[in-house]
């Protein structure tokens, strides 16, 4: 009988909370979007599944050993933990949980030792998060793999398109201002670091958003990652109305001259040029752009094909699995179900919109300043979201003019957008985190 009670009290049903149930529903929603609608499935399947796992009541998969001890330990252990964490013996669980995260490092390690002695361990997803995201390594390896899959040819053939990739980052900075204003007016409660991390959603680049958020605002990582990947998947819906509104039929019909041939040696030297500029000007962007350039150099140099192949396949796939599950660990109810999450989702889509518009307007401005005319439709590709945004540009171009193949032309600003948002990430970390 006692056994039955023990099993029941340890079952999920008896410990289920409305929040956990809601987050499990969110997890299923993400899986539905990924599987049925094809929304960035490579990331949203692991994130959604991780989100469900994280909210299984009583399993504690997303919690550290100390958090699990606080949630499931007996009264005596809680009193001891309160003492170690410097709280009153009758401190509420919420205060203990906060202290477990924010106490000085030596206090946290004493609490961890106490939890271990009491038989509690880190949850599986918490361990994944610690290794993959808290160290920053997973987003960096994804960036290396993306670098190893990126062809800078179109960008090198027409380097002016870098300006489009720059302009589209305006969405990032406008959103930071927006988030700071919302806090100033007391509508939301974001610190400057939070605002910077939220803004990066506008960069339309998942690993960059996760990297910045892991440095500046780990608590918001869940909603930020979900927003970034969801909106990247929604690019074919978000961008076209903005693109049509800001361009004339005549502009959309502009045919672009064929891109010049880019030699292999230019492609080899380009990542090194970019690396030198980063080294000289923006060391805080060095991890992201360094790994990106490393991946690209491996691909282009042609003498380490077996490493390139691994970076493009086994390594990036393994990293993606762990990254996704780790992001899922941040979808626990008490961190995700917050008014701030709605603010993040709202700000994120605004950031996308502003970025799209800025890219197009920049293209139009460059046309006024002369030079070979650009079709402004490729400006929207500057947000990144490779290669979706470039495909959207191509599609709208074909609608206006059936002979107008913009895909390769849009790939220039598209990869420029990746560089642009990584640069913006470095600026944010330098200004806010330093």
């Amino acid at each position: 009988m006692e056994n039955l009670l023990q099993l029941w009290s340890s079952s999920g049903l008896s410990q289920m909370t409305p929040g956990a149930a809601a987050m499990i529903a969110v997890g299923f929603g993400l899986l539905f979007l990924a599987v049925r609608k094809g929304f960035e499935p490579l990331l949203l399947v692991p994130i959604g599944f991780g989100g469900i796992l994280a909210n299984i009541p009583g399993a504690g998969l997303a919690y550290s050993a100390v958090e699990n001890a606080i949630l499931q330990g007996d009264a005596q252990l809680l009193m001891q933990l309160s003492a170690v964490l410097g709280l009153d013996p009758d401190a509420p669980v919420k205060a203990l949980m906060e202290a477990a995260e924010s106490a000085p490092a030596q206090v946290r390690s004493a609490a961890a030792a106490m939890a271990a002695d009491a038989g509690f361990g880190n949850g599986m997803l918490y361990s994944f998060y610690s290794v993959a995201i808290a160290t920053g390594v997973a987003p960096l390896l994804i960036f290396m793999g993306v670098g190893a899959m990126t062809d800078f040819g179109p960008l090198l053939a027409n380097p002016r398109t870098l300006f489009l990739g720059a302009a589209a980052q305006f969405g990032i900075f406008a959103t930071v201002l927006g988030a700071v204003s919302l806090s100033a007016f007391g509508i939301m409660d974001f610190s400057l670091a939070d605002a910077a991390a939220i803004g990066i959603i506008g960069g339309a680049d998942g690993p960059t958003a996760i990297y910045v958020s892991s440095v500046l605002a780990p608590d918001l990582l869940g909603p930020i990652a979900v927003a970034a990947y969801s909106y990247m998947a929604l690019v074919p819906m978000i961008q076209p109305p903005i693109m049509r509104a800001l361009t004339t039929e005549a502009e959309r019909k502009i045919e672009m001259v064929q891109l010049r041939h880019v030699s292999q040696r230019e492609k080899i030297v380009f990542p090194l040029v970019l690396l030198v500029l980063v080294a000289l000007l923006l060391p805080d962007a060095a991890p992201l752009l360094g790994m990106f350039c490393f991946g690209n150099l491996m691909k282009e140099c042609g003498v380490v094909d077996r490493l390139t192949d691994t970076a493009q396949n086994a390594l990036i796939n393994i990293t993606t699995i762990f990254l996704g599950l780790s992001v899922g660990s941040k979808l626990v109810a008490d961190k995700f179900l917050d008014i701030n999450t709605l603010g993040i989702l709202a700000l994120g889509i605004v950031a996308f919109g502003i970025g799209t518009a800025s890219g197009i307007l920049m293209a139009k401005a460059m046309n006024r300043m002369g030079g070979t005319p650009l079709n402004p439709l490729i400006g929207s590709a500057g947000v990144s979201a490779v290669p979706m945004a470039a495909r959207v540009s191509n599609k709208l171009g074909l609608e206006a003019n059936p002979h107008n193949f913009l895909l390769m032309h849009a790939m220039g600003p598209n990869v420029a957008g990746v560089i642009g948002s990584a640069v913006a990430a470095g600026v944010m970390i330098s200004l806010v985190g330093g």
Partner: protein
């Protein structure tokens, strides 16, 4: 944030400039060697080679599908 956006634009402007210089330098000083005549047109293959190729393909196919 103005500084932030400015930094991004300046950085990318410098990159445009550096890329241009790089491309011109490379094209002048380090032109790609004459591209090798890629895969020469597949010449008619002798019967023995055909058999070898096919048996290789079979072998490969079997080792894949086992």
């Amino acid at each position: 944030m103005v500084f932030g956006m400015g930094t991004v634009v300046i950085f990318l402007a410098l990159l445009v400039f550096a890329t241009g210089v790089m491309s011109r330098t490379v094209q002048r000083l380090l032109p790609d060697p004459e591209p090798e005549p890629a895969n020469p047109a597949p010449t008619p293959i002798a019967d023995t080679e055909l058999i070898a190729v096919i048996s290789a393909a079979i072998h490969q196919h079997r080792s894949r599908t086992k």
